[in-house]
C-alpha cells in the first residue's frame, strides 16, 4: 500500500481546472498582468522540475468556442457557450501527484490563487478496465 516516488508510476493524474474572473482580468494593467504571468509560469516551471507537471494549456475565452451536438439525427453546431457566470474556465493543468492531498498541497501554492482565481481538482478517471473489456467485445465481433 506504499506510494512510490512520483517518478515511478506510483502517482495519480489530477486534472486541475483553472477559473478566472474575466471582468477583473480585463481591468488589470499590463504590468499587473505580466507580474501575475511571471509568478504563475515560474511556479509551473517548478512543478515541471519536480516531475509533477503532466501537461496543461491555457484556453481562449469561451466566445471563441464552437459546440457540437446531435440534433434530429444530424450534427448541429452552435457558437459558445457564452459563460453566464462571472467565472470562466481559463486553462487546464494536468498534475501528477501521490494522492489527493498531495495535489491539493501543490495547487495551494499556485500564485494564480492569490489573484482571485480558483482551481477545481479532479482525479483522472481510470478507464483501463473498461477499455480492456471493450477491446475484448470488439475482438469477438471481428472474429465472427
Amino acid at each position: 500500500m506504499q506510494a512510490l516516488p512520483t517518478q515511478y508510476g506510483g502517482t495519480i493524474k489530477y486534472i486541475c481546472l483553472g477559473y478566472y474572473d474575466k471582468g477583473k482580468f480585463d481591468g488589470m494593467t499590463e504590468d499587473q498582468r505580466n507580474a501575475m504571468f511571471d509568478l504563475c509560469f515560474e511556479y509551473d516551471d517548478h512543478l515541471r522540475a519536480n516531475g509533477h507537471w503532466a501537461g496543461g494549456e491555457a484556453l481562449q475565452p469561451s466566445e471563441t468556442a464552437l459546440t457540437l451536438h446531435w440534433k434530429n439525427g444530424k450534427v448541429a453546431t452552435t457558437d459558445g457557450p457564452y459563460a453566464e457566470t462571472k467565472e470562466q474556465l481559463g486553462g487546464i493543468l494536468v498534475l501528477e501527484a501521490r494522492d489527493m492531498n498531495h495535489a491539493v498541497q501543490l495547487i495551494a501554492q499556485h500564485p494564480a490563487l492569490t489573484y482571485g482565481n480558483s482551481f477545481e481538482i479532479r482525479p483522472a478517471g481510470d478507464m483501463s478496465e473498461i477499455i480492456k473489456q471493450s477491446e475484448q467485445r470488439r475482438r469477438k465481433v471481428t472474429a465472427r
Binding site: M1, Q2, A3, L4, P5, T6, Q7, Y8, I12, L39, E42, Y43, H46, R48, A49, N50, G51, R98, D99, M100, N101, H102, V104, Q105, L106, Q109, P111, T114, P123
Partner: protein, 417 residues
Amino acid sequence: MPQNVPEELSRIIETLYRSESGRILATLARLLGDLEIAEEAMHEAFAAALSVWPTSGVPDNPRPWLISTARFKAIDTLRRRARFDASQDELVRYLEARGSSVEGSEEEDTIEDDRLRLIFTCCHPSLPLEARVALTLREVCRLATEEIAKAFLTTPSTLAQRIVRAKAKIRDSSIRYEVPSPQQLPERLDAVLQVIYLVFNEGYSAAAGAKVTRAELTGEAIRLGRLVSELLPEPEVLGLLSLMLLQESRRVARTSQTGELILLENQVRSLWNQEQIAEGVALLEKALKSHRFGSYTLQAAIAAVHAEAESVAMTDWRQIVALYDRLLQIQPSPVVRLNRAVAIAMRDGPEAGLAHIDAVLAHGELANYYLAHSARAEMYRRLGRTTEARSSYGKALELTQQEPERRFLQERIRQLK
C-alpha cells in the same frame, strides 16, 4: 526530468523511498516545523536524487543526504512563497539560522524520537478523532488519501479536506512536534492508542465482508502498534498490541468461505493463528508484570483466556468474569457490563445471564445496541423460550445495517423451532 536513470539506481531509490520515507518525513517535520513543507521537500529531495545520483553515485549514507537536500529545497520553497506572502520571511530566516546543525543530529535515537513526535502530533487530542485517524494513516503509515477514503467508506474529497483542516489546525494552534512530558504522557498516549484501536476495529468489523481493503486496516493497525511499542514500550501499548494480535489470530476462523460470521463457540480452533497467539500472550505477560496496566491489557487478558482454551466448555469462565470485574472498575461502560453478563451466563447458566443482561438494558444506554438484544435472544433460545427469542432477534435485526450480521441473525431466527 532525468530520462535515463539506470534501472538498478531506480530500484535503489524506490527501496529507499519505501523503507525510509516515513523516518525522513518525521525528521523533516521536526526540522521544518510544518508537515506540508516537510512532505513536499522530501519529494523534491527524492527527485533531486534521481537527477544527481546517476552521475555522482549513491552517497554512502543516503538518509542524511536526502534530509539535508530536502532542507535546502524547503528554504527555496519558502523563499518563493515569501515573494507574495510576507509572513514566510521570518520562517526562511529561522530555517537558515538553524543552518547545518541539522546534519550533526543524525543519531539513530533522534530519528526514532522523530517518528514518535510525528505520531503524537498526528494523534493530538485537540484534533477530532476522525481527523487524527486520517492524518496518522497518511503521515505515519504513508497511505494515500484515496486508500484511506476507500477504507473508511467516504469520498477522497471529504477525506482530503479532513486532512487539510487537521494540518491547518496543527499549524494555527502551534502544536509542536514533540514527545509529551511524563506528566502529559498518560493522556497523550491514550489518544494515540485510541487511534490505533479504532483503525483496527474498522478493519476487524469489516473483515467478514468481501471488502478486503477494509480488512487491511487491521494489518496497518498492528504495524502501527508494533512501531509504538518499539519506540515506547509502556504497558498499555504492549497490552493493545497483544489484544490486536489475539483478536487477529481468529480472523480466518471467524468467517466462513461465503463470508458468514462464525461465533466463537462454533469456530474451528485449529484455524487460529498460533504464532500470533504466542506473541500476544508474551506481550500480555510483560504488560501484566508491570502492575501499571489498564483496560487494553485486561481486554487482552480476556482474549488470551479464550485463545488458550480448547473449547467453549473448557474455557475458564470464572477467570473471564473476574477479569471483567476488574475491567469494570477502570472502564465502567455499559458494553463492558454486557460482556460481563454474557460471561456470567457461560459460568452460571442462561437464567443468571438473562437477569444480568436485563439489568444492563434497564439502564437504557444500550436500548439501541443490537448486540444487547441478540445476546438476550441467545439466552431465551438456550432456555427454550422460542417466542421471546424470536422477538429479541427481530429487535436486533432492526438495529443493524451490516450485511453479514443481518444474515447471521436471520439464520438464527430460521433455526428456531
